[in-house]
């Protein structure tokens, strides 16, 4: 199908590979055809019909997103017939959509609103269908709000949940006028297998799926004299926040973000990267501990492969789908929750603030983090370890509300202590990053030498390929690790839950043997998280990824175990990895959940 096909679109000749669609051909020559159900990450549905175009000699219009090009085609994207049909389709969609735009969270960011304004959907539209239908809003989930009255049935969310995540928490139910996007037995989202990953939110063209926002709570904490509000920022926020504030994708805005947070009134501006380094120490040691138990002590009760635990979407997924593998999940908490537990204990003590007066806020690229912070296990400080989780998008909103001109902000530095981090922590934001960070540390612990990769860049675990494997031979070990001499450490990295499912099935069926598996729920890892700026696409995620690795390269410290603040934390407070205090504050357990 790679032979070139020649066609004309709006009288402009274009030549494109066979098998391409009219939409792709039009984009190649910079002709914009509007779309709604189409999304670069998803299979073609062809159901919204706003992309219809006219083919010379054909009575019916063709969906540009679904129709393959053919030789000699003459396509018109702006004929009277096309404009008329398109306007009617937009009017139809508006008629079944609760169009109270000024009160909508997605106001100004809604793809339907954009089209409605382009096609001037005025007073003479169709009869309002929303009033007839008695919609209710599902806002029971701590992460995601589902408002069917704004749904235009494009099924992007359904395809996201099925194709990218293999969850199908969201599916199509009923037919005809009753057709809607629903869940198992139409239960609320928090009762079904939803992992709160928010990938659907990232792809919803309207306000039908949005994150649950905690802006009011955070503003009121900031406003309170009594409260000391600490904020932590996840690695992937600093390379994407700019996009939500008018900057191009891939801009590193760490310094401006810190400035903005100070201007917003946060008392301590700290970094999740600090606890990312800490996670590496704990999780890396846990891996070595498990290897020792299995390889040396032949202890059956300890499970390999060990999987990462920092992605809360992944954790909930395995709790639902592969509960028999819960003993394989690292007991180390995610960096967000390690941070929360330390903030209200170690840090509160250090700065002389009573933990009950401390409000712990985190800025995350993630909607599942909102759920994670709500888990009953996440109260090891004696309080809710992380009070409020905001997405990258919500932080951008706060910055706008505060009237801050983000682009002109000076760069600023995180507060010390719990503000220092290594390059290994930054790359947590990209798929493969945790693996790379863990290997940088674990290899050095075992051999006393740096990982044998140029400039510490473990390229086999990098990239956007859905599943990547890397084997690292451990040789010339330090005496205490002699049982690992000659062992080939087998690792695997997967991102997107559909790939996670493939890996876990391979492990379950004995088709794959690994020691350590990194899984991130979202495509591209946290940089493609459900709380990141909209839109998302493979090209945008690639730019964010390049920014993350650039940030790593420029860091003076590249390895978690060389972070001086982390070393200090062990000396002063934790004493040793996997020690008593760590066990209490930094490790957790998991719960088997239903499968529907």
């Amino acid at each position: 199908m790679s032979d070139k096909i020649n066609l004309k679109i709006d009288n402009i000749a274009v030549s494109i590979n066979g098998g391409s669609t009219i939409l792709e051909a039009a984009r190649k020559i910079n002709i914009r055809i509007p779309t709604l159900c189409y999304h670069e990450d998803l299979c073609v549905a062809g159901n919204c019909r706003v992309c219809v175009v006219e083919q010379a000699g054909s009575d019916r219009l063709l969906p540009a997103c679904a129709m393959p090009v053919s030789e000699g085609m003459e396509i018109h994207t702006n004929s009277m017939k096309v404009r008329n049909a398109r306007k009617q389709i937009v009017e139809l969609l508006v008629s079944e959509h609760r169009a109270d735009c000024t009160r909508c969270y997605k106001n100004g960011k809604c793809e339907l609103q954009e089209l409605a304004s382009e096609y001037i959907v005025g007073e003479n539209g169709f009869i309002d269908l929303v009033a007839h239908k008695g919609y209710t809003i599902d806002n029971f989930s701590p992460s995601i709000i589902k408002d069917d009255s704004k749904c235009i049935r494009c099924q992007r969310c359904v395809r996201t949940c099925d194709q990218l995540q293999s969850i199908s928490a969201l599916t199509v139910a009923h037919k005809g006028e009753h057709m809607k996007i629903s869940s198992f037995f139409e239960k609320p989202m928090f009762e079904v297998v939803c992992t709160n990953c928010g990938q659907c939110v990232n792809r919803c063209p309207t306000g039908a799926l949005t994150e649950k926002t905690y802006l009011d709570e955070v503003w009121s904490s900031l406003n309170s004299e009594r409260k000391h509000v600490v904020v932590q920022t996840a690695p992937a926020v600093r390379i994407a926040l700019g996009e939500a504030l008018g900057m191009p994708a891939g801009e590193i805005v760490t310094g401006k973000m810190v400035s903005a947070l100070r201007r917003l009134g946060f008392s301590s501006v700290l970094d999740t990267d600090f606890t990312a380094d800490l996670t590496i120490i704990e999780e890396g040691n846990e891996l070595l501990h498990r290897l020792k138990k299995v390889v040396k002590d032949k202890d059956d009760s300890v499970k390999l492969p060990m999987t990462t635990s920092c992605s809360p979407g992944w954790v909930k997924f395995i709790e639902h789908a592969f509960p028999e593998y819960l003993p394989n999940v690292s007991t180390a908490k995610s960096p967000q929750q390690m941070f929360g537990a330390l903030a209200k204990t170690f840090y509160a003590n250090k700065i002389g603030v009573e933990p009950e007066n401390m409000v712990s806020v985190s800025i995350m690229p993630c909607t599942a983090k909102k759920y994670e912070a709500d888990r009953p296990e996440m109260r090891s400080s004696g309080y809710k370890d992380v009070d409020y989780v905001l997405t990258t998008r919500e932080l951008a909103l706060m910055i706008k509300q505060a009237g801050i001109d983000f682009a002109s902000l000076p760069d600023d530095e995180f507060d010390s202590i719990m503000g220092e981090s290594s390059g290994a922590a930054v790359i947590f934001g990209a798929t493969g990053g945790v693996m790379e960070a863990a290997l940088r540390t674990a290899y050095e612990v075992v051999t006393g030498r740096e990982v044998p990769f140029e400039n510490l860049e473990i390229t086999p675990v990098r990239g956007m390929e859905s599943i990547r494997e890397a084997n690292i031979k451990i040789e010339n070990v330090l005496p205490e690790w002699d049982f690992l001499e000659g062992v080939e450490l087998k690792t695997c990295v997967a991102h997107g839950l559909s790939n996670a499912k493939k890996i876990m099935e391979a492990v379950r069926d004995g088709k794959a043997e690994y020691h350590f598996i990194e899984i991130m729920a979202c495509p591209g890892g946290c940089l493609g998280g459900g709380g990141q700026p909209i839109p998302t696409s493979p090209a945008i995620r690639k730019k964010r990824s390049e920014a993350i690795y650039a940030e790593d390269r420029h860091k003076p410290i590249r390895k978690s175990h060389e972070n001086p603040e982390v070393m200090h934390l062990y000396e002063e407070f934790l004493k040793e990895p996997l020690g008593h205090v760590s066990h209490k504050l930094l490790h957790t357990h998991y719960t088997e959940r239903n499968r529907y």
Binding site: G46, L61, Q88, L92, S95, E96, L129
Partner: protein
Amino acid sequence: MKKNLQRLDLIFKNEHDTKTILKKTLARSNDEVINDLISSGLKGRGGAGFPTGLKWKLAAEAEAENKYVICNADEGEPGTFKDREILSSVPHKVLTGMAVCAHIIGAKQGFIYLRGEYSFLKSQLLEIIDDFHGILDECGVNFRVEIFMGSGAYICGEESALFESMEGKRGEPRNKPPFPTDCGYMNRPTVINNVETLAHTYSIMKYGPEKFKDLGVQDSRGSKVFSVSGDTPIPGIYELEFGMSLQKFVDDFGDGDSKAVQVGGASGFCVPRKRFEKTIIGYQGKLRGTSLPTGGSMMIFNSSRSMYNVLHNYLDFFVEESCGQCTPCRVGTQQLLLGIQAVKKGEQPSVYLDKLLDLAEAMRVTAKCGLGQSVANSFSSIVENFREEMIY
């Protein structure tokens, strides 16, 4: 064209020579059989009218290890009930058509997709299929037929929605291309034919293409089984030659007071009395006047009927039976229904009907499948011809 079009009894003539026909046909080359079908002029009797011989030829040319033959017995068009009768009285003709098709295209598995409401036919059909498998074994044909029960959704009669349904998914039409002869059930080349179409292939195999071609007119060859209902003293199933004018049809079947005939069910066209003479029942082509295709549904309305109620009834049906996938069909059908209600109640001015006619036209050219595209047929033909009944 002076031709005395007549009632016929080809389809329902119960001929017990399945084995003979099968043996005779299998002895011929595939090309010969396909060429017979093509030259007979047989077109799909489900309503869309795709040339049957060409469909078999395309599937035969497609390269794949597995191919399928499916008999579409999801007879759901309002006012159509002829496939039920064919499957009750002459199922062996349908099965023979399927087996020959399978032999030609290289399929080993066939299915009858039976309408959910026809479950009473299932046990009887299973017995006949069992016997038929015996005949196939005797003739050395490696082919098996199974029944797949539909669940009552109208949309599953649309071929690609039918495949989705058989694959265990929601019955939603697919994007085309690819077409079933390349990528049908299980993404394999598939021939899907209407029950009646398959029964006709039997007649063509038995009597030859010429006999078939002698019947009918020009582009509409052969006979057609009609389901006649509504205001008629003689409702029922009739086999008629193609090419009959509606006037002749109404003369034969009407009650003397026929105001309109709905040709082709809810997705077909409404023809008012003044156009009876010029309207011919047959596939769109080179016929004089207007030719109207039909899957077989002929509903006759006399002057006591409100055409508003007729249209309301059809729109109720579409609002319920749209799969809901594409915008023009899901939302458009609701708007058409609410629209005529609003005009009737005086909540919208009568010119709102013109906006609805524009909408119906937009649905016709943009909807994803035949369902949404054909809502405009009944809507526009009823509103244009009986506008005053919509308003007052």
